[in-house]
Symmetry: C2
Subunit: 236 residues, 2 copies
DNA sequence: CCCACAATGTGCAAAAATTCACAATTAACC
DNA sequence: GGTTAATTGTGAATTTTTGCACATTGTGGG
């Protein structure tokens, strides 16, 4: 725990408190995650005819309450018009600015199994400005193979060199759990700034590196806990 | 919002308050998610020599504080021995009992693209008692194809019939976002009890069905928000 | 048997996050 | 131009979650 502080939502890093200060207001950690969720329906609506949206409607679409929406947005400014609502295009632009998704980011992926492949080929990433610049795997049988997205699989030993040459900022780990910590060390040694880890272990990083752990089985266990709970209570 | 209540961690369902009551104590929502995380290192340790583990050590391995670990466990009973710690095997067994992962669950998956394929082939699921009994896709080119795991891809129109015949409890959605709501309706109409949705939209379900939405891009946006925040503050 | 040490379990305090209620503002209509 | 309806922005109250401090209990050694 010396070099790592867990942020409730799952992201972890160093000296979190400082990062969450904007002017003098503290931004609740879950707010950031919700902002990302708000942007999904806004993207959809931004194509269609609707020009404005109320906090009530946006809340419905995202499964939260409307005061929550208003409060979340109010942390960062006054984006709406009283009596009217929020302009869809403008709000989307503001949220993107807040989240820093109005700029391009450079990624690499480590571990080109089924999952790694699915992630690197995923349209949603590229569409949102996340650019995979390199793919790594330690399996000699995979190295040299070219993926549909155009990337050629590199051996893990080239990691440091490529990350620095291509200015890669974020690393995604999609290896088996056993390799995840080793890969994390390789990535951080190469100067990566943040890691999105899909291996079902909690990887440790040195000061100044961000980690977010995504664990599918945790989500499933959440579900089955509540499922069993329901049948036990005989509510349904 | 009429038929759906969002639980902070991302899981949503109906009348949540009731489910979280055990005897008279309210269980914090994040506690369940952490219990799942605690079980990972316990599984690893359960093979090796260590027989007991302290809350301090377990907390380190999971990136939380030690009072947090103790408090989380104390909601469900007294599993440790004062002055000693927790017996690894026993604690794992207790957590599995709490989470209902000591039993088998039946799943199906809808959408056999890269991601769907990666999920259904994933060892971690089967290893933990999550059994995929059916795979669906609406693409006629995919229907009839047999996956490495042995399942044959079924057309979506067979969904209701198969879910009922095989007593499938949980559905996983790995379709493009546009199809996700339609698939959700199909699943709930077929009597599914819970849905794990990987499409980047918030799907709506009728009363009595659980949903957990997993959105990779939300995790990434979380990261880039904090990353930009760091460089702006000039901390590194 | 007693004492020192280690580690859990827990009531209470603190912090964090959400919800409420309403003042403020705008648009639309007559 | 005034009145009504709609909707935001926000301080205060409430609820939820976490952290602290310590009493409690078990272990091992002399």
């Amino acid at each position: 725990m010396a070099s790592q502080v867990l942020i409730p939502s799952g992201i972890s890093g160093t000296n979190q408190a400082k990062w969450l200060m904007t002017k003098t207001k503290k931004i609740p950690v879950p707010t950031i995650e919700r902002l990302a969720r708000y942007s999904r329906p806004l993207e959809d609506l931004s194509g269609s005819g609707d020009v404005v949206i109320s906090s009530v409607r946006l809340a419905e679409l995202c499964g939260v309450t409307s005061p929550q929406v208003r409060k979340d947005l109010a942390y960062f400014g006054e984006f709406g018009t009283r009596g009217v609502g929020y302009n869809v295009e403008d709000l989307l632009k503001e949220i993107k600015k807040i989240l820093a998704t109005d700029q391009e980011w450079t990624l690499c992926i480590v571990g080109i199994g089924n999952l790694g492949n699915a992630l690197v080929e995923n349209e949603n990433f590229r569409k949102r400005g996340y650019n995979f610049l390199a793919a790594f795997d330690s399996d000699p049988k995979k190295v040299g193979h070219t993926l549909s997205c155009g990337l050629t699989i590199e051996p893990s030993r080239n990691m440091a060199q490529l990350i620095q040459k291509l200015h890669i900022e974020i690393g995604i780990i999609a290896t088996p759990p056993f390799d995840a910590q080793k890969v994390t060390n390789l990535l951080t040694d190469s100067g990566i700034k943040a890691i999105l880890n899909f291996a079902p272990i909690q990887v440790r990083v040195p000061e100044g590196c961000l980690v977010e752990n995504v664990d599918f089985t945790v989500s499933l266990e959440n579900i089955v806990y509540h499922l069993r709970d329901i049948s036990k209570k005989g509510l349904f």
